[in-house]
Point group: C2
Chain length 607, copies 2
Amino acid sequence: MCGIIGYCGPKPTAKVLLEGLRRLEYRGYDSAGIATIKDAELTVIKKTGKINDLASVVPASLDGQYGIGHTRWATHGAVNDVNAHPHVSQNGKIAIVHNGIIENFASLKETLEERGYRFVSDTDTEVLAHLVEDFYEGDLEEAVKRALSLVKGTYGLLCICTEEPNTIIGARNGSPLVIGVGDGEMFLASDVTAILGHTRQVVYLEDNEVVKVSSEDFTTTDIRNTPISKKIENITWELEEIEKGKYPHYMLKEIFEQPESVKRAMQGRLDEEYATAHLGGLNMSTRELLEIEQVVIIGAGTSYYAGMLGAYMIENLARIPATTELSSEIRYRNPIVKRNTLYFAVSQSGETADTLYALRELKRKGGKVLGICNVVGSSIARESDGGVYIHSGPEIAVASTKAFTSQITAFYLFALLMARMRDLSFEDGLILLRGMKELPDRINAVLKQSEHIKHLAEKYSYARNFLFLGRGLNYPVALEGALKLKEVSYIHAEGYSAAEIKHGPIALINPDTPSMFIVPRDELRDKVITNMKEVKSRGGKVIALCTEGDNGVRQIADDTIEVPEVNRYLNPFLMVVPLQLFAYYMAIKLGRDVDQPRNLAKSVTVE
Amino acid sequence: MCGIIGYCGPKPTAKVLLEGLRRLEYRGYDSAGIATIKDAELTVIKKTGKINDLASVVPASLDGQYGIGHTRWATHGAVNDVNAHPHVSQNGKIAIVHNGIIENFASLKETLEERGYRFVSDTDTEVLAHLVEDFYEGDLEEAVKRALSLVKGTYGLLCICTEEPNTIIGARNGSPLVIGVGDGEMFLASDVTAILGHTRQVVYLEDNEVVKVSSEDFTTTDIRNTPISKKIENITWELEEIEKGKYPHYMLKEIFEQPESVKRAMQGRLDEEYATAHLGGLNMSTRELLEIEQVVIIGAGTSYYAGMLGAYMIENLARIPATTELSSEIRYRNPIVKRNTLYFAVSQSGETADTLYALRELKRKGGKVLGICNVVGSSIARESDGGVYIHSGPEIAVASTKAFTSQITAFYLFALLMARMRDLSFEDGLILLRGMKELPDRINAVLKQSEHIKHLAEKYSYARNFLFLGRGLNYPVALEGALKLKEVSYIHAEGYSAAEIKHGPIALINPDTPSMFIVPRDELRDKVITNMKEVKSRGGKVIALCTEGDNGVRQIADDTIEVPEVNRYLNPFLMVVPLQLFAYYMAIKLGRDVDQPRNLAKSVTVE
């Protein structure tokens, strides 16, 4: 969350910054701003709202030789122009943009106020601007390092100064920062998507590293001035992958990409000869895999729900006890880490702060942690002991869709691998494997029903509250479906195990609060039908997501969405897609900003 | 859920039945009905709504020599007069009331229709009435047994027939049934509270037992006619415990009983000499307790949230890995049961079907299961290997309050016991023990703020949606607080770990959706404050439940409720009480039926 960009080079600086911010907008869109310097003169323009609001107040004449920009997801202080970044030092010479949280900002602020600094904003970032000014003695890099030595917290930051032409200082601790190496120009950004239109040569900074950039060159050191040599990497994404193409929204594009993205997640990983999966990135010998006695999966939001499904698959298929924990909870729970427990950290961006810190806590205790990430080279991918890249391609919509189905593909493959090392027969393994191979076609069949789902979303758009109900493997799907609807339509949707509603939540049922039941033809179908009847008895409306041609369900439900029959472990894949579409069309019907829903941001890099 | 009553004796039958149903009303109040027989003439009166609605249509002149009654929580078929119990056989001679679910009712119905029976209701119960008629050859008990031999499902049922004077047949499988033995009169009920005003001599039926009752006598057999001799037990509850006394509602009475009920839950269980707890009912040697390597707690609704807290206490204090599972989920998950894993089944009534069946599944696999129950002699208490009675006294309000604080008292004591057998020092044990001793006084201090809490409930009664947010030990408290508000006020309140909202749910925040933060002065306080600021940044209103005198919280929150400082493991006790009161006063303000909220029922005895 929050996006930052810096540019040093011959192109029109303001234009490059605004273009970069547009690519970063999904990381936060409470407010935005840019600061440019031309001939030792600093210009700062900030605006509440989206990048277009900012662009509308940037004069066409504005230019600069170098500059920085920021798009904000508010943590400290309300959403307004004053709290927008960049923040400027008291003498007006230094500008700074910052992603992260300065935890000791209150005490730093007090000290600075005693030294005569006056604060204009409520942000934690402003202390950094004044602190750098306070330390500045003709060397910006030195001043930044001295300021950061006093800071407790996380940051990805960029800093410029009117007295240092052609110079941007960047620093990273806990929030990502990447250098884009151009030909006679240099970029800095929180995320490669911001610079992919200009260069494919990038350098990822690590925690506690500082970079000094000019249009020609960059030098990296650690915070104690030790030089660090960095490797230039080559980005293999295509620019079109981060553009919407024919779709009106990224969310819809990414939903429709799922036959492809699921295929990529399994590509080269299916072994028909032994009816198992290959997952080379795990970095574990078969002996080590054999010794696993327990699996614990951590994640946040959608990744947590993917983990719940993963735990179910691993426990049921491989008969290894598996549980899921919220990253934010396990970290502060003083977790008990045991030998032969394997941990998975699930995060699309690989930068989710809650998950990253939990991973570190588990590793500190000697835990073996694998990552399930989308972004190659991300913090979690690098700090884990190995893992599975899901190769979904860039996910830009704030509400995660294709990452979820690819995450559960990774777990399905891992469960198959572990099960085939244990009690699962070749024949049963082959059934699971072939089911997975056919999955992209099945997802395509579901996507063909988008018009029907759109119609249902419109039919039920009167509802301000919704329950999503499933059991077993489809309980996490219910949770994920409710989360999607919440995120993009702002309808208060809540997911429950269908059996749980009679223990309280059924009090919410009335004709204005419909229920979405996930009820495939599996061993729990009859139980879920009983729960559906309980809701119908109370006058609640029921939409049922069921297996094609299930007349028993059709007789009870007000409406159905029907998906092809697959093995029970694949049902969640087919069930979640209609829920994503339902949320999308509901948001459209209600006039929401689908790709950038209010209050949210992609890639939550603060705790 | 559902309540049933039967009476055979000289008193006015209709009056006794209606009085019993009033005591049972909290078990279900969709509809109610009675059937009485006088001189071989059957009278059936049924009515949608509560017992008062039924009583208003029962003529004062109605009398009978014996009869049965029922208060319904609908599972099959809508709520209406026709679907209300009792159900009558086609020839009009047999009446039946039934609690539970007949799973194979569809096929039985088909067979009966082929044999010429016509159905008038949509219930599963009606098949029983016709089936008993079909088998009746002059012996009602025999006919009932033959009918039940074809039934798949659960039942607590009573049956009468015009041709058999002074006779009620009762049968139990999965739904509780108790015989009340009077002097020249006999009672049958699903729950002792219904008959406590008449007799204290009771006999609990077990699954697959059938009883034949007359005003003078009863005989018990199993379904294959083997005689079974039963023990008469003596009820020690006082009638006043199940009356409201000076309080307008049971819920308020039970909230205010908590200093006493928590004291009862710890009584005789604190050992100052060794700074530990005594829990004799566990039926486990110290050696067995020492060998526990893992704890898994199962429950539903409020009991599940108590279990989450219990797991946290056990894991943190005793350093034994502990997790919680929904009863309804674990049962169908093919759970892996390991040697040295200890299970707890938590249920106030001890009759919760989801939990009872999960317990049986775990025991079948060789698992050791302890119960944490309130109702002495309940199914879970009897079928578990031991456990802890919480001694809260009867809990009548449908929304559980005092049972929750007593359940977590039991876990606190168990965690202390296990911790003191492991790494916890005498001194630290003593601090925990003394904290517990002082807890009733601290709860009293919180209850004194009820006027302030009432004021806040009224102030925020405009809200149709609410978030409840806490972390660590107070995350389950947030879930429980949200459940209470849902249950009695029908406001859509949802609980989350405070850190999770930025991963999606924060999209719901606007000025009309307030957040209740639980933020005691503990090691997570500063993190929760950051989450509070995120909500405030988006214009959300914040009520903070914090430790007395916390100025940092006061500065941010719109309103605070402040509770005394206690050790961190006791915070949840003090935090949940204001949430109970908040839910109660909100429901009053909104004109809800607090003790019998819509769609709900106490003691969920169906899956």
